[in-house]
Amino acid sequence: MATMSTSITASGSFTLTDSNGTVIFSYSPSFTTTAQTANSAIISTGEILTNGTSATTINLGRHNKDRIFTFIKNVDTDYAVAVNPDGDTIANLKPGECFFSPVHIDGAADGSANLDLVATTAAQKVQYLLCDGLDTGIASDD
């Protein structure tokens, strides 16, 4: 039986500086996951034009909905886009902003299978990269 093995590397750099040039904090986190076959079926990426004010769905039918490494970036110029994995907003991204998290898609006991994007006022372009992660075994209602 064929299996698929996936891993991800995520790195970031975050710095807050005050108006005097003093660095308040600076973090540069990075991690690489161990290549895993369990719960691993798909890497998906793309660019999508959201609907206006109604939800636009990225279908996650082949993904492991219990945990998906998720990178989302608003690549448009006008309005914020909300990221809603199960009806609940976990990010509001204005143009140029991006988000990263290992997301539990089917939380809140609703068994969601999709990642919804909701733009404000008008359609916006969004880029995304999704990769299955290892299931932590927590319940769908957590």
């Binding site: 698929m4 093995s5 996936t6 891993s7 991800i8 590397t9 995520a10 790195s11 970031g12 750099s13 975050f14 710095t15 807050l16 500086t17 005050d18 108006s19 308040i24 904090f25 973090y27 986190p29 991690f31 996951t33 290549a35 890497i43 990426t45 945990r67 490494f69 990178f71 970036k73 914020a80 994995p85 609940d88 907003t89 976990i90 990010a91 509001n92 204005k94 140029g96 902003e97 991006c98 988000f99 990263f100 998290s101 290992p102 997301v103 539990h104 939380g107 809140a108 006991a109 880029q127 995304y128 990269l129 999704l130 990769c131 992660g133 290892l134 932590t136 927590i138 209602d141 957590d142």
Partner: protein, 135 residues
């Protein structure tokens, strides 16, 4: 209140065992005007109680009225951490962090951020700050 500049960059690369690889990255700045709620550091988060990064916990007396940006990193060697928008009872998970993993997001509007370990107390690294209405 004071003014700040926040600089962020994020890169994610996904690989498969066959050599297939995809990468995406982003960088942006936030110019923050007149905010007074910033917290960063490390803390122990228990498994049997909510650990709130709400304004009262970071020493502020007013709510994050316009929203907040936050970074959470699980520093534990063994156990995972759950990060919620709101109390854990609301079950609105922003992410689940295995040891060493981190997340970053911006959530606009009022609300609190809650951390909760699953099996045993975990040590976390974090920052959270208020975003102003224009940021």
């Amino acid at each position: 209140m004071a003014n700040y500049t926040f600089n962020a960059s994020i890169n994610m690369t996904a690989n498969s065992g066959t050599g297939y690889s995809q990468s995406q990255s982003g960088s942006f700045n936030l110019n923050l005007t007149g905010i007074n709620q910033i917290e960063s550091g490390r803390a122990d988060v228990a498994s049997d109680a909510d650990y709130g990064l709400d304004p009262s916990k970071v020493g502020a007396t007013t709510a994050f009225t316009n929203g907040r940006a936050f970074y959470i990193r699980n520093m534990d060697d063994t156990n995972f951490l759950k990060v919620y928008d709101g109390a854990s009872s609301a079950a609105d998970l922003v992410g689940i962090l295995e040891p060493g993993e981190w997340l970053f997001t911006i959530i606009r509007g009022t609300g609190v951020t809650t951390l909760r370990a699953d099996t045993a107390t975990v040590h976390v690294e974090y920052f959270i700050f208020e975003v102003d209405s224009a940021a």
